[in-house]
C-alpha cells in the first residue's frame, strides 16, 4: 500500500551512490550564492532522461534535497557552523517526506481551498510580518516594505499585461527578478561592509574543532518546539502553490524570533534562527510535492521543473497517480527520504570543511570570490547581464538605506509578496463583482477570516508583547 516494494527496488548500491552524488552536487551548487535549487534541478535534470526511471528519480530527489540545503548554507556559514543546520535539515526533511507519504491526498484539498482572495490575504499577512521583522523602527520597516512593493510593479504585469514603471527602458520591461534583487540586497551590503571595515571578517572561535555533535544535539533538543513549529510552517507553506522556501523561511524565522526568550540574539548567529529558517525551508520539499504530485500544480518553483521531468518519464498527475503510477511516485518519495538521511553525513562533512576553508580565507580572497559568485549566479538566473546591473544597483541602494537604518528584509518581503497580493486582489475583485458580493468575497470566507485574524494579531503583537514584558517588571519593583 505505501509502496515498500518501491523502497526495496530503490535500495541498490548504485542508486545509493547516485543519491550521495546528487546530494553532494546539489549542496555545492545550492551553496553558491545565487545558484538556486531551481537552477540546480533544471541544469541537472536533462542528465536523468537517458536513465531508467528509478535511478533518474532518485538522482532528481537527491539533487533537489541537497540544493535546498545548500541554498541556505552560505548565509548560515558566515555566522554559524553547519552542524546544527545539518541535523535540523535531516530531522524535518523527514517530517516533510513523511507528510508527503501519508498526507498527500487529504492535504492537497487544503491547498485547493485557497482561492485568489486567500492568496491576497496571505500576502497581506506576509506583509504584516514586517512589523515583527522590523522591531525597533516600524515606520522604517513599513517604508522598506512599500519600496519593495513599488519595485515589484516594474515591468509587464502578469495578469493584466500592462507595462508599468519602465520609464521607456526596454531592460525594465523584464521586471526586477526576485532572485537578482535578493542577491543584491542581501550580499552586496555585506561585501561593502567587509571591505569598509578593517580586521578579520569572522572571529575565529577558539574551539571550532570536531563536529561538535554533542553541542549541536543539545542546541537542537533545547529548541525542539521551534523545530517542530518551523517544520509544520514549512510543510504548510510548501503546499500553497507558488510560495516557496524563501517565504517559509522568513515566516518561520520571524515566528521563532517573536517567540524568543531573553538572551537569544537573533541576527547574530542565534542557533534558533538557523533552526527556524532551515527547518521551514527544508520542510517545503515534502509539502511542495503534495500539490505537485496529486494535482499537477507545483508548490514551489523547483517542483515545477521536477514535474516536467516526471511527465517526461511517462507519469500523469491526477487522482489515478497513486494507483496507475504508484511505482514512479513511491520511488520518488522514497528517494527524498533516502536523500534526507544521506544529508546528515554529507552536510556535516561539507559544513565542517567549507566552514573551515571560509574562516581561514583572507578577506582579500573571500570578498572578490564571493562577489564573483554573486555576479555569475545572477547572470545564470536567466542569462541576462541587465540582471547583474540591477543586482548591483539594488545592492548599493540597499547598502545606503542600511546606513540610515532601513533593513533589507522588509524590502524583499514587499518584492516577493507584491505580485501575489496584486493578482489575488484583481481576481477576487473580478469574481466578487460577478457574484455581486464583494464584501462576502473578501471578508466572508472561513480561511480568509482566519488569515485576517492572524494578520491583526501579527500587527498588534509588538504592542501586546511590550505590555506583557512591562508587567513582570512592574511586579518586580513592587
Amino acid at each position: 500500500m505505501s509502496g515498500f516494494e518501491a523502497l526495496f527496488a530503490a535500495l541498490t548500491p548504485l542508486n545509493l551512490l547516485l543519491a550521495l552524488a546528487g546530494v553532494i552536487s546539489g549542496t555545492v551548487i545550492g551553496a553558491i550564492p545565487g545558484l538556486t535549487a531551481t537552477m540546480a534541478v533544471a541544469v541537472l535534470v536533462p542528465l536523468t532522461f537517458g536513465m531508467p526511471p528509478a535511478p533518474a528519480l532518485i538522482l532528481m530527489g537527491a539533487i533537489y534535497t541537497g540544493a535546498i540545503y545548500g541554498g541556505a548554507y552560505s548565509a548560515i556559514l558566515l555566522n554559524t557552523p553547519g552542524t546544527p543546520s545539518a541535523i535540523a535539515t535531516t530531522l524535518d526533511g523527514l517530517v516533510g517526506a513523511i507528510a508527503l507519504l501519508t498526507l498527500a491526498p487529504p492535504l492537497s484539498r487544503v491547498a485547493l481551498a485557497f482561492g485568489p482572495v486567500e492568496y491576497f490575504w496571505l500576502a497581506i499577512f506576509g506583509l504584516s510580518l514586517i512589523s515583527a521583522i522590523s522591531e525597533g523602527s516600524l515606520l522604517k520597516g513599513l517604508a522598506g516594505g512599500a519600496l519593495g512593493l513599488l519595485i515589484s510593479c516594474i515591468g509587464v504585469a502578469e495578469v493584466s499585461a500592462d507595462v508599468r514603471l519602465t520609464f521607456g527602458s526596454q531592460t525594465l520591461v523584464a521586471g526586477i527578478n526576485v532572485v537578482a534583487a535578493l542577491i543584491g540586497l542581501f550580499c552586496i551590503p555585506v561585501l561593502i561592509d567587509l571591505v569598509a571595515t578593517p580586521g578579520q571578517h569572522l572571529q575565529v572561535v577558539a574551539e571550532p574543532r570536531g563536529f561538535r555533535l554533542g553541542e549541536a544535539v543539545r542546541v537542537i533538543m533545547q529548541r525542539k518546539f521551534n523545530l517542530l513549529r518551523s517544520s509544520i510552517i514549512g510543510t504548510i507553506v510548501g503546499i500553497l502553490p507558488g510560495a516557496g522556501g524563501s517565504v517559509a523561511g522568513i515566516v518561520a524565522y520571524s515566528e521563532a524570533r517573536r517567540a524568543a526568550r531573553p538572551g537569544e540574539h537573533y541576527g547574530k548567529g542565534e542557533p534558533g534562527g538557523v533552526i527556524a529558517s532551515e527547518s521551514a525551508n527544508n520542510a517545503t520539499v515534502g509539502g511542495g510535492f503534495i500539490p505537485t504530485l496529486v494535482l499537477g500544480i507545483p508548490g514551489t518553483p523547483p517542483d515545477a521543473v521536477i514535474l516536467g521531468a516526471l511527465l517526461v518519464q511517462g507519469m500523469r498527475t491526477g487522482p489515478t497517480l497513486f494507483t496507475d503510477y504508484a511505482l514512479i511516485v513511491y520511488t520518488f518519495i522514497w528517494s527524498l527520504l533516502i536523500a534526507t538521511i544521506l544529508m546528515l553525513p554529507a552536510g556535516l562533512l561539507l559544513g565542517r570543511y567549507a566552514y573551515k576553508s571560509i574562516i581561514t580565507l583572507p578577506k582579500a580572497l573571500l570578498v572578490p570570490s564571493v562577489a564573483f559568485m554573486t555576479i555569475i549566479g545572477t547572470y545564470a538566473i536567466r542569462n541576462s547581464i541587465s540582471d547583474v546591473v540591477i543586482m548591483i544597483v539594488l545592492g548599493v541602494i540597499g547598502w545606503i538605506l542600511g546606513r540610515f537604518g532601513f533593513a533589507a528584509a522588509p524590502i524583499v518581503l514587499g518584492l516577493i509578496l507584491g505580485p501575489i497580493a496584486e493578482q489575488g486582489f484583481v481576481q477576487a475583485w473580478t469574481i466578487g463583482s460577478a457574484q455581486q458580493d464583494l464584501v462576502g468575497m473578501f471578508f466572508g470566507r472561513p480561511i480568509s477570516i482566519a488569515i485576517i485574524a492572524f494578520t491583526v494579531f501579527s500587527l498588534l503583537s509588538p504592542l501586546l508583547m511590550r505590555r506583557w514584558k512591562l508587567k513582570p517588571e512592574v511586579a518586580h519593583v513592587e
Partner: protein
C-alpha cells in the same frame, strides 16, 4: 585526365562542403531552448517532450530554460539580441505574438520574430469540475442566460486564446459571462478545481492533465480530439468556433537562411516520430506542421483572423 577530373570534383566537393559547413555541422553544441513562460505550462511541457527526441536524433542536448514575464513579451522582446547561430531558439505562441504588439508597445513587433516551425496547437475548450452541475454546454448557456455576468470563467492571461474564445463564444451564444485572468493554465486549473470559478476556458491539454477531476463540455476543433471521444466540438453544437493557442519555434533574425531551414527540417522530423506524436496526443495536444517555407502564408492568415476577432471582442481598437 581521369585523375585531373577527380581532382576538380574533389575541389568542388570541398568548396561546397566548406560553404555549407555551418549548416551541415549544426548543431555543434547543446541548443538553448528558451521558453518565455514559467515552467509547468503547455509551452514547457511540449519543449520537454521534444527534448529526448532531439538528443536521440541529433546527438546534442536541448536545454530548456525560462524567461517568463508579460505573457511572453519579455522573452520575445530580447530574442533578436541572442547570437544567431541556431544554438539559441525560443518558443513562440499565437495569438500572443500578433495581439501584444498590435495592442501596445511591448518591445517587439510581430515581423521581428523569425519563426521556423509551428509544431502543434492546443484547442480551446470549456472545462468544468467533475462534480459541476453543468453536464452539457447547454446547461451552462441556460444558467448564463438566467444570470447574466454571474457565470465566471478562469482562464490563462488577458488577450490570450482563452480570453478571445470566451468573448467570441459569448457573442455567438448571446450570453454574458465574466472572464478572470490567471497567470497561466496551472493557476487557472487550481481556481477551477478549488471551485473559485464556475468553469474554465482552458485547452484540451488542461483537461487531459486534470483527468477524472474535470469534464470537457466542448472543444474548439474541426473534429473531436482522440483523447476525448465523448466531448463534442462547438461545431457539432452549432457554434462555428475553431480556435486555440498555436506554438512554434523562432530563432534570432541574424540566423543564416540555411540554419533556419535545417532547424525547420529537424523539428519536422521530431514531429513525424510516431512515439512523439503519441505522447503529444495523449497529453491533449493537436499536431500541426507548418515548416519555415510556409510560415509567411500561415502567419498572414492567422494574423488576419486573430486581429479581426480581437477587434470584434473589443480588445483592439
Amino acid at each position: 585526365m581521369a585523375r585531373g577530373r577527380r581532382f576538380i570534383l574533389g575541389c568542388a566537393a570541398i568548396a561546397t562542403a566548406a560553404f555549407t559547413a555551418a549548416a551541415a555541422a549544426y548543431p555543434t553544441k547543446s541548443v538553448d531552448y528558451i521558453i518565455p513562460f514559467g515552467p509547468g505550462g503547455e509551452s514547457d511541457i511540449t519543449a520537454r517532450l521534444q527534448q529526448p527526441f532531439f538528443k536521440q536524433m541529433f546527438g546534442q542536448d536541448l536545454v530548456v530554460s525560462y524567461k517568463p514575464g508579460g505573457g511572453g513579451a519579455v522573452g520575445w522582446a530580447e530574442l533578436n539580441k541572442h547570437p544567431g547561430d541556431g544554438h539559441t531558439i525560443m518558443g513562440v505562441n499565437l495569438p500572443h505574438i500578433v495581439l501584444q504588439p498590435a495592442e501596445k508597445n511591448v518591445g517587439y513587433k510581430t515581423e521581428d520574430l523569425t519563426v521556423v516551425y509551428w509544431f502543434h496547437f492546443t484547442p480551446d475548450a470549456i472545462v468544468v469540475k467533475a462534480d459541476s452541475p453543468y453536464k452539457t454546454l447547454q446547461d451552462l448557456i441556460d444558467d448564463a442566460k438566467k444570470n447574466p455576468g454571474k457565470v465566471t470563467f478562469s482562464g490563462s492571461g488577458k488577450g490570450t486564446a482563452n480570453h478571445l474564445a470566451q468573448v467570441r463564444f459569448d457573442k455567438m451564444a448571446g450570453i454574458k459571462t465574466t472572464y478572470v485572468a490567471f497567470a497561466g493554465t496551472g493557476p487557472s486549473n487550481t481556481a477551477l478545481l478549488g471551485g473559485q470559478t464556475s468553469a474554465a476556458w482552458g485547452y484540451t491539454t488542461s483537461a487531459a492533465s486534470l483527468g477524472d477531476q474535470a469534464r470537457v463540455l466542448a472543444v474548439a476543433m474541426e473534429e473531436r480530439h482522440p483523447s476525448f471521444p465523448d466531448a463534442p466540438t462547438f461545431k457539432e453544437l452549432g457554434y462555428d468556433l475553431v480556435s486555440g493557442a498555436y506554438r512554434g519555434i523562432a530563432v534570432p533574425n541574424s540566423t543564416p537562411e540555411d540554419i533556419r531551414k535545417k532547424l525547420s527540417d529537424m523539428i519536422g522530423k521530431i514531429n513525424a516520430d510516431p512515439e512523439f506524436k503519441k505522447k503529444m496526443l495523449d497529453g491533449g495536444y493537436a499536431m500541426l506542421d507548418v515548416p519555415y517555407e510556409k510560415n509567411a502564408e500561415f502567419m498572414e492568415k492567422q494574423s488576419k483572423a486573430f486581429i479581426e476577432a480581437a477587434k470584434e471582442a473589443g480588445i483592439l481598437k
